[in-house]
Amino acid sequence: MLESPGTNHWFGTDELGRDLFTRILYGARVSLTVGIGTALVALIVGTLYGLLSGYAGGSVDNLLMRIVDIFYGLPDLLIFVLLSLFLGRNIVGVLIALGFISWVRFARVARGQVLQAKELVYVESARSIGASHARVLLRHILPNIFAQLLVTLTFSIPAAILAESTLSFIGLGINDPYSNWGTSWGTLAQDGWRAMRSYPHLIFFPATAIFLTILSFNFLGNGLRDILDPKTRRL
């Protein structure tokens, strides 16, 4: 059943005769959904949290940031494993668990930016013509700090893909055998890892898919940062 790469099956087949190229295409759906979904969840939760914290300032800010500090000090992957035990080893569960550990990055970036932005004149002028706090935050400050958040978002996607594939590889990530949605690249790599001695193609292709995807998002992030953040451009 197990075939090496050839003209019939470009990436070869696995031990059940399934075409690896097709499995990797469908696996992309899982990995990209988890990556982008996690980043979006973290973006929304973290940004709102950071906006409020930075804008409120004072003791509220102090308290909220203490909580973020504690989250920041947690060992990410371990907390993720515990959460996913609770939320289940399916895509939604993994997405929420990963979002739960990565929102703090956005909270920190958003707060730092708001602290600077809220002292600027345009905020004062918006307030003086009677704009509410909510309006100032969402219509005036948020668009002005969005560049930074976008860069953070682009770097969060590969981080989430990395975490998901790593955990699936060691058998603690997505494990949903009845899903017809596709198998995570990490799980494919794990299957290949067991047979690596005799059939290296089984791990080579999923591993390459993971690597190239993460690399592309990192390139995208670097490019975006160079464009949006003039301070680092010359470096």
Binding site: G73, P75, L78, P158, L162, T166, F169, I214
Partner: protein
């Protein structure tokens, strides 16, 4: 300095408490337990087991017992390894993990410091391009893939190192390279941009104008002032090494704490899961504390604060 350290220490204790509470609550709320077998145990036996591990007590009483135990250094019994406590397991499995982590960090620092300085010194030349390309590739390469590639090349094809033979000479080399690669890439990248920023400062021009040798300018004037961001990253990096090591231990079959963590999760050996999580968190807290103290050594400006 002292009040600052006390504040950080209290913060560390708070982190540990949050982790202990979080893991305890999550694992107790999970449906099913470690003693569920395919064949049901008789109710009397079940009651006996529950009484032995105090599982028949109210939730809060169990929680109080657990926290009191931690404060006394007792992490509880292991459900799976009946003759060993969690503390026993940690004592046996922590040394390989720590050794691997420190080896990997040393390796990463030894490679990234010269590379970062060189890349900044020859900015935009081939060595700089090579370093940044390597760093981008390194950041994007998951360590389990790197581990598999290294095993395939050096163990299966060349036969230089034996895979999955922890304790044999040279057995720590491949795992340490695998674990250290990503931190190395991050450190190189960070040191390079930090150095570039410092090299643009006025005091560097002054030093050069005075006729200080270029090597001295680089390593004394510039490097010292560029180390702060590197230090800041060392804390989180240690976290990557610690949390990442359970993947490496899985790939290279190293009898470290991380592998026990994975099996404990699948075995539902909850006290062991909680214990290992706590130990990892404690290591992380200590690393961050050490980094905070190192600041004042490197940067005299911090001392006065």
């Amino acid at each position: 300095m002292a009040p600052f350290l006390i504040k950080r220490l209290l913060h560390g204790v708070a982190v540990l408490w949050v982790v202990a509470t979080l893991t305890f609550a999550l694992l107790r709320l999970l449906p099913g337990g470690p003693f569920d077998r395919d064949r049901r145990l008789p109710p009397e036996v079940m009651a006996n087991i529950e009484a032995k591990y105090h599982l028949n007590e109210p939730f809060l009483a169990q929680y109080a017992r657990y926290i009191r135990g931690i404060a006394a250094g007792d992490l509880g019994p292991s459900y799976k390894y009946i003759d060993r406590t969690v503390a026993d397991v940690v004592r046996d499995t922590l040394p390989p993990s720590m050794f691997l982590g420190i080896f990997a960090l040393a390796l990463a620092l030894a490679v990234s410091l010269p590379l970062g300085v060189a890349a900044a010194a020859w900015h935009d030349r081939w060595i700089d391009r090579a370093c940044t390309t390597m760093a981008t590739l390194g950041i994007s390469l998951p360590n389990f893939i790197l581990g598999a590639v290294l095993i395939w090349i050096f163990s299966l094809k060349l036969g230089w190192f034996q895979a999955a033979r922890w304790g044999s000479p040279g057995s720590a080399v491949l795992p340490a390279i695998t674990l250290g690669a990503m931190p190395c890439a991050q450190l190189t990248y960070l040191l390079r941009s930090s150095m570039l920023e410092t090299l643009g400062e006025d005091f560097i021009r002054t030093a050069r104008a005075k006729g200080v040798r270029e090597a001295l300018v680089l390593f004394k004037h510039a490097l010292r002032n560029s180390l702060i961001p590197v230090l800041t990253l060392l804390g989180p990096l240690f976290a990557i090494l610690v949390a990442g090591s359970f993947v490496i231990e899985y790939v290279f079959a190293i009898p470290g704490m991380g592998r026990f963590f994975i099996t404990a999760v699948t075995d539902r050996d909850y006290p062991l899961v909680m214990g290992v999580t706590l130990v990892y968190t404690a290591i992380l807290v200590c690393a961050n504390l050490a980094v905070d103290m190192l600041y004042s050594v490197v940067d005299p400006r911090v001392r006065t604060r």
